[in-house]
Amino acid sequence: MSMFRILGSALAAFVLLGSVTAQMAKAQSGPLRIEITEGVIEPLPFAVPDFVPENGGGSEYARDIARVIASDLAGTGLFREIPQEAHISRVTSFDSSIAYEDWKAINAQAVITGAVSASGDRIVVKFRLFDVFSGQQLGEGLQFAGTTRSWRRMAHKVADAAYSRITGEGGYFDSRVVFVSESGPKNQRLKRLAVMDYDGANVQYLTDSSAIVLAPRFSPAGDRILYTSYATGFPRITLMDVGSLATQTLAEQPGTMTFAPRFSPDGRRVVFSLERGGNSDLYMLDLGSGGLTQLTNAPSIETAPDFSPDGSQIVFESDRSGTQQLYIMSASGGEARRISGGKGRYGTPVWSPRGDLVAFTKQNEGRFHIGVMRTDGSEERLLTASFLDEGPTWSPNGRVIMFTRESSGAGGSAALFSVDISGRNLRQISTEGAASDPAWSPLLP
């Protein structure tokens, strides 16, 4: 059973709190709203008092859950937490309303209150979101129930709900990232596959470091991972079942190298690069039948493919023009149209979950950038610049991009960073050691 399915069933008990439904005033049309635009914004001040423990077991989590929620929201750069030391009111009961005047006095525009109870390995988390200046609750109270092991996920669920109600956009906190954990010196780097929560917590290692592993991707359901592995001695695309960690080498053809595998949105096909005689082209593998279809046939390098969210098109990089550039073609192959047109080289395109943007790595004048452009190549914007930034991956809601940043020199090492698609809020993800090649999962169920 996959990790996601275990956690998914743990959270299946997801109910509206009937008792508060009647108190609901106007929900999402209230004045508490952040419109996420490209302009500079003032972060919205919010407060999250410690959750109210409703039994002895709950007291162990009451503070930690509030801290994770605060960290999620503040981490977006769209919200600013008012520290607990500044709070005037204490929230001691989940069911009583809040003292709006006390929160107004410290300029908290949003307040999240909650309660937690735990017994055995079961935990129940409830929360409410208040719009302080209009003096009413924003949306319904919600309850999440699951295992104590998944308590951080429930905090992320609360933060996702609050984020979503205030911004009008989907959340992304309850998600995982598969990446490559790195150790050892630069000329003898050891790499292993790992997964973590989007914020770097709960790391689990999926392989040992005996073989080089590169560029993993989650399946749409999160139950499988595709990556390139040198476990056979040669680069081969490999499929891993996340639950059992069983692996399988795909599309083995003697004398060839296979790499850069990506799932189709339905999880049934894999587009990847196959190299033969020095030339890399794109191929499609049907996981059910094992059927292999060649999509490109050119003497140039075709690699780093990615499906459009509807599965009908593929964006990829090719140096058919003489330098690395971005192209889009039908998912069945055929003519491709070039979309990148600026100075420099473009690679590693990834299609946004909303379908309107492509994120990419750009090299120009000795610097690397992460950028976005529309799928027709217009409105290119560079979000970052450094010695070496590469390999963007989209958050499930399409607001944030995570990528690899590598520092230069003999002691150079890789780390994971994230940036808002507005170009604001550049942050390093906290990982135990060096890390590269992140790929975001969909929002968990």
Binding site: Q188, D208, P235, I301, Q363
Partner: protein, 176 residues
């Protein structure tokens, strides 16, 4: 240049090829660890021999030259590279007991998957040249490491130039 890194490559390549004539030269080669990432199978060990012996691996690595370098983002062979490879081909023709794995590498100035492709192009350029000089194609395999295994670690052209390479790694056995 020390012998150790070469010994290391040889040992690893032997492991990759899983060949079964480990003691061609009777000596015990060095490192037992297989750091190139082949996690399976046993590791064969072969002595490098005396660099003054024209039939030794050491002679091939040091006197003939086991590697060629490439300009930025290129896979075409320079005149210097052709000279070295002609020597490699000649050596391989007169030492029929060896197969080779040509490793293609890129410097760090490029994205990961593109550099895998670029390394493969470089390895294939070497393979084609060796075949054109008469080395049987079935004695040559290629592998690309992209930018995963730099030899030099600084982030300057002096290091990049040495990392943009294709290395011809000998393994015992007449075919792969």
């Amino acid at each position: 240049m020390t012998l150790f890194p070469k010994a290391f490559l040889i040992v690893a390549a032997l492991g990759l090829a899983a060949c079964n004539n480990p003691d061609r030269f009777g000596g015990a080669g060095g490192a037992g660890a297989d750091g190139l990432g082949n996690g399976t199978g046993f590791v064969d060990t072969t002595g490098l021999g005396d660099p003054n012996d024209p039939a030794s691996i050491a002679y091939f690595n040091q006197r003939v030259g086991d590697r060629v370098l490439f300009p930025v983002d290129q896979h075409t062979l320079t005149p210097e590279a052709r000279t070295i490879l002609a020597g490699q081909a000649q050596w391989l023709m007169s030492n029929g007991g060896y197969a080779v794995i040509v490793e293609g590498h890129a410097d760090e100035q490029g994205t990961r998957e593109y550099n895998l492709s670029l390394g493969a192009r470089r390895a294939a350029s070497v393979q084609s040249f060796l075949v054109s000089q008469g080395v049987p194609a079935n004695r040559i395999r290629t592998i690309s490491y992209g930018k995963e295994r730099p030899l030099e670690v600084c982030s300057e052209e002096a290091c990049y130039a040495k990392n943009r390479r294709a290395v011809t790694v000998l393994s015992v056995g007449s075919g792969v």
